[in-house]
């Protein structure tokens, strides 16, 4: 969970920085998208680096889900008889939404790829420029798409608020003296990602970026 999660968090940071290029203009965004595909060319063929990254990401997603499902199955087996009354004593609500939050995020990723990567549910379709797909996808009349993104991104933020610290704990680097800083960093990183990911769609929906 920890290692695959870390891979995905690194991806999210890069993804967010890429998204923010829309504020530098459509051309900047399109050039960035093109650069991702031509990275290390002509040393390597077109789209090599990106394909490798995609394989690593898909593997991380699959392993992350496999780990989550096996943990959840073990938990079910370890407590065959449920409590009549059970009250949580640990601080924070984020730990309670990890599993369903993960499912929500997985469903969103499917929609997200259909929308902006493959253009299936995007008004501009697959053959358009990335920036056009992005702007058409979040135009004011498609406010409900923006709403889906808000829900999903907030879910990612909550997932990471527990997830980032949890990964550090799982790898054995956490302790009481570091925990304050670690938990604060996890919260800060989550907040930065949520703001960074929500800024472009909101700016487009409200007509700031056209």
């Amino acid at each position: 969970m920890a290692v695959t999660g870390a891979v995905m968090v690194l991806f999210l940071v890069l993804h967010m920085l890429g998204n923010l290029k829309i504020f530098l203009g459509k051309d900047s965004f399109n050039e960035y998208a093109h650069a991702l595909r031509t990275l290390l060319e002509p040393l390597l063929p077109y789209r090599t680096v990106l394909t490798v990254l995609e394989v690593v990401l898909v593997a991380s997603v699959v392993l992350h889900m496999w780990a989550a499902i096996s943990l959840s199955r073990r938990a079910g087996k370890a407590r065959p008889v449920k409590y009549v009354a059970k009250k949580s004593q640990a601080a924070g609500y984020t730990t309670h939404i990890m599993r369903w939050g993960g499912v929500t995020i997985a469903l969103f990723v499917v929609w997200h790829l259909l929308d902006l990567t493959f253009g299936v549910v995007n008004p501009k379709g697959f053959d358009s420029a990335p920036a056009d797909r992005m702007i058409a996808g979040f135009e004011p009349s498609r406010w409900w798409v923006t709403l889906i993104y808000i829900v999903a991104v907030v879910m990612v933020g909550l997932h990471l608020r527990h997830g980032v610290w949890s990964a550090v704990q799982t790898l054995g680097w956490a302790n009481s003296t570091r925990n304050k800083v670690l938990r604060l960093s996890a919260g800060l990183l989550s907040a930065v990602l949520v703001i960074g990911f929500l800024a472009p769609p909101l700016a487009i929906t409200f007509g700031v970026v056209k």
Binding site: S70, R74, A78, R79, V84, A85, T95, Q169, L171, A174
Partner: protein, 246 residues
């Protein structure tokens, strides 16, 4: 105080079990939770009923025998307190209290609120010891130990093995218990030679017993009567990872 208790009754390991409601009257607020159950049991015996079976021994909060899930919380809502040290003054007159045994597949119910915690013994047997002739207590300064390490080792060693961590964990994990036992030895010089093999053996035994995996929810440390911190689990994870990397 007058109370309504909803207690898990199960005549034996093969019985399905059910919640049974009892009224208890004239409970003194100064009674411990176990004394309140003693009063109910005396009445049940006089009425010819089977008394409620529950584990208890020292009734001083140091032996680790007692433990039940009270209103959905292992050892009740009073923090850092065993069931025997929980007093009735923390409950309101007229309250309804649900009482259940620890719930975990590796802790099968023996009877009513008594569960079999031998799984913990087998985890200790897998590596919770030092293979050196320890003899009698050594002189205090014969082997130097950093004050911080001594304190942390002692804190971990206060684990009484009651099993509340397992009971509270949504995954039914025994990580806090196992980690406390690993930490208490791994911080001291005597525990160093077997540090990694111990972590591996104990964690593997914990998994073999059928406990769930840790997802760092922190429910365990919140109910632990000794307040064992999650640090112990991080330390166990680090040692376990190192042991597997070798």
């Amino acid at each position: 105080m007058n109370l309504t208790l909803k207690v898990w009754r199960q005549s034996g390991p093969s019985d399905k079990g059910r919640m049974v409601t009892y009224k208890v009257e004239d409970v003194s607020p100064d009674m411990s939770f176990l004394e309140m159950l003693d009063v109910l049991n005396e009445r049940l015996i006089l009425e010819g009923d089977d008394p409620i079976a529950f584990d208890h021994d020292c009734r001083e909060g140091i032996c680790g025998m007692c433990g039940m899930v009270i209103n959905g919380v292992a050892h009740g809502e009073q923090r850092a307190t065993t069931t025997c040290q929980l007093h009735m003054r923390h409950f309101e007159d007229g309250a309804t209290i649900t009482i259940e045994p620890w719930r975990a597949a590796p802790f099968p119910v023996v009877k009513d609120l008594v569960v079999d915690r031998s799984a913990f013994d087998r985890i200790i047997q897998a590596g919770g010891f030092v293979s050196v002739p320890a003899g009698s207590a050594p002189d205090a300064h014969s082997i130097p130990v950093r004050k911080e390490d001594a304190d942390a080792a002692f804190d971990a060693a206060t684990c009484i093995g009651c099993g509340a961590c397992v009971a509270a964990c949504p995954n039914g994990s025994a990580s806090l218990f196992t980690a406390a036992k690993i930490t208490h030895l791994s911080l001291l010089p005597q525990g160093q030679p077997e540090r990694l093999s111990r972590a591996k053996a104990m964690v593997d035994q914990m998994d073999a017993e059928g406990f769930g995996g840790c997802t760092n929810t922190g429910e365990c440390t919140a109910v632990c009567p000794k307040g064992i911190p999650l640090d112990a689990i991080a330390r166990m994870n680090a040692d376990y990872l190192k042991a597997n990397a070798k």
